[in-house]
């Protein structure tokens, strides 16, 4: 088991090392960076959907909080970007915990409704508080600096984000194999049964939700600094749906499925550029098709076919 996991991680590292040398120009490097950022958000979201069996329809809202914390605090209040990123993560974590605690005491999928509402409120707030956020037009973001050095250029960003991704994959694998991860899988299987054997269901669900929200917030900050610009579209409902689609396509409850889903769906809009106007239809059809014909997603289905677990 342990050995197989490491092979997966080594493959990820090998691919990440190769990309800068096979990417013909900065367009592809930029695409790779976006894929890696999405992969990290999806890793967090997949922990929630795949392992805790709960869906968040407002994850882009958390992304938006992180992105705007990194845009607003350094610009208007002269905060250091790292401090701003931390503040965004903290606000997101507190907000997620505040919302999740009462919701998870209820049966059924009320989290979908609560996160949906929360995401829309965040988006509307970002659009309306124009004196801070630039309103619907968005605002520029100051560059990130580490130890007095500014990070700029695709190459620098690529290595930083690649390192983050490797760490995120490794951490997710460990989390899933830890007692915490086992408890999560148990409560996805049967909530009542896991309660009987002593799993504090509410606490575990709240922690995984907060964790995935904080993941999204930090990646929102990273995206904001990388692109150098934020707009309310970061936090809109459709973006939340895109993230859920990545989880579904790659495979729920699969670490490498998250990566595959993020890579495929980040590339999809580029591939669809020739089908101007049909993007929404294709996205919807993919969602429905996967849920009906391949509900486990690509990676778990392939893994089952070739007779080895992940």
């Amino acid at each position: 088991m342990q050995k197989k996991l490491n092979i997966g991680l080594l493959i990820v590292i090998a691919i990440l090392l190769l990309v800068p040398f096979i990417a013909p120009n900065s367009f592809y490097l930029d695409l790779a960076i976006r894929m890696a950022i999405n992969a990290m958000i999806v890793l967090g979201l997949n922990l929630l959907i795949g392992f805790a069996g709960q869906i968040s329809l407002g994850h882009a809202g958390f992304l938006g909080i992180g992105a705007y914390a990194s845009a607003v605090l350094p610009t208007h209040f002269n905060w250091h970007p790292l401090l701003a990123m931390g503040a965004g993560a903290l606000i997101t974590g507190l907000l997620a915990a505040l919302v999740a605690r009462p919701i998870f005491k209820l049966k059924g999928n009320y989290l979908a409704m609560a996160t949906l509402g929360l995401g829309i409120i965040i988006n509307i707030t970002l659009r309306n508080e124009a004196q801070w956020t630039g309103g619907p037009d968005g605002m520029p973001v100051l560059p990130m600096s580490l130890f007095g050095l500014e990070i700029y250029g695709d190459k620098q960003w690529y290595w930083i984000i690649a390192a983050m991704l490797v760490f995120a994959v490794w951490a997710s694998q460990n989390l899933i194999d830890s007692p915490f991860g086992r408890a999560l899988r148990a409560l996805h299987g049967s909530e009542v049964a896991s309660q009987v054997v002593g799993v504090d269901v509410v606490r575990y669900k709240v922690s995984i939700f907060v964790l995935s929200a904080v993941f999204a917030s930090i990646m929102g900050s990273v995206t904001a600094h990388y692109i150098g610009f934020v707009s309310p579209n970061f936090a809109d409902f459709f973006h939340s749906i895109e993230l859920v689609t990545m989880v579904v396509v790659g495979g729920m409850a699969s670490v490498f499925g998250s990566l595959v889903g993020a890579v495929l769906l980040t590339a999809l809009p580029q591939a669809l550029a020739t089908f101007e106007g049909w993007e929404t239809v294709v996205f919807g059809a993919i969602l429905m098709g996967f849920m009906i014909f391949l509900p486990k997603g690509i990676v778990p289905t392939l893994a089952a076919k070739f007779g080895k677990g992940e």
């Binding site: 069996g53 009462p102 209820l106 509402g117 429905m288 849920m291």
Partner: protein, 291 residues
């Protein structure tokens, strides 16, 4: 002061009636299948857009309106047959994602077909506003109130006085028991989707002359209808109607007295409060566990 209050009340009730119809659609489908149909908003959009399309194509208004209700009903049935029935018994997350996918497909197709412009449907009976205690009421609002009231009465009669309606109710209480007494539950599922889609489309048609319509109005209208259904206690028909009106009034009052910029946020703030303090909604029954 009173005039202003009445003005907000009228506009709240008008849009609230649409939410109520959408919420009834959510309720019907939820009761028949436990599916939260995130494509409900697209039926509202389809109603308005098709009504515009058929009137512009030269059909007389009544014919255009009937077509604009029937076609979405067919779409609803297709959704049920092609996407919901094949995954019977799937997890809630799966079903939510399928209906979200369906909503994207419907919205995308309409966008490709009719474009991204905003359309207005002519009011059914003139644009001459009616003065009531200093507030103005559009004749179209009367259509909205009247038709919604008739629909609610018909639905009440259907569910309480006809065998088909009682069969649908029985299925929502206990599917297995309903099947055992000989109710065709797949017919019930079929009917629920057809009726839900038709109700949504009707709401979309009624409101189109007041708020205009475009390919993307379904998202917000649907989500607010959904909030209304939850406020009323998901699965409760009367609750859905009251919830719809309440959400509409709250939104109009909030926009008028607090902040019009945050108008669209009001229903969602409401739903978070409801989930916190009254998780079963205003009219929801006691919760039961299925293990």
């Amino acid at each position: 002061m009173l005039a202003q209050f009445l003005q907000f009340l009228f506009s709240g009730l008008t849009v609230g009636a649409t939410y109520a119809l959408a919420a009834l659609g959510f309720t019907l489908i939820y009761n028949a299948s436990n599916v939260i149909n995130f494509a409900q908003g697209e039926f509202i959009m389809l109603g308005g857009m098709l009504a515009v399309f058929f009137t512009v194509s030269g059909f007389p208004l009544p014919v255009a309106l009937v077509l604009a209700i029937l076609l979405p009903a067919v779409v609803g049935v297709l959704l049920e047959k092609l996407a919901i029935e094949p995954v019977k018994g799937a997890e809630t997350v799966t079903l939510i994602i399928i209906t979200i996918g369906a909503s994207l497909v419907i919205r995308g197709l309409v966008q490709v077909w009719l474009g991204k412009s905003t359309f207005a449907l002519p009011a059914f009976s003139g644009e001459e506003p009616i003065q009531i205690l200093g507030a103005t009421l559009m004749p179209q609002s009367l259509w909205v109130f009247g038709v919604t009231a008739v629909v609610v009465a018909v639905l009440w009669y259907f569910f309480n006085r006809t065998l088909s309606g009682k069969a649908m109710l029985a299925t929502s209480f206990n599917r297995t028991a309903a099947e055992l007494v000989g109710i065709n539950t797949s017919w019930v599922l079929f009917m629920s989707f057809a009726m839900a889609a038709a109700l949504g489309a009707l709401g979309g048609i009624l409101i189109a002359p007041i708020t205009m319509t475009s390919y993307d109005v379904g998202i917000m209208l649907g989500l607010k209808g959904f909030v209304a259904a939850v406020v009323g206690g998901l699965g409760n028909g009367l609750g859905a109607v009251v919830g719809g009106l309440l959400v509409g009034i709250l939104e109009a009052m909030g926009a008028g007295y607090i902040s019009s910029a945050y108008k669209d946020a009001m229903p969602f703030i409401l739903i978070i409060f409801i989930l916190f303090f009254m998780p079963r909604g205003l009219f929801g029954g006691k919760s039961t566990d299925r293990v």
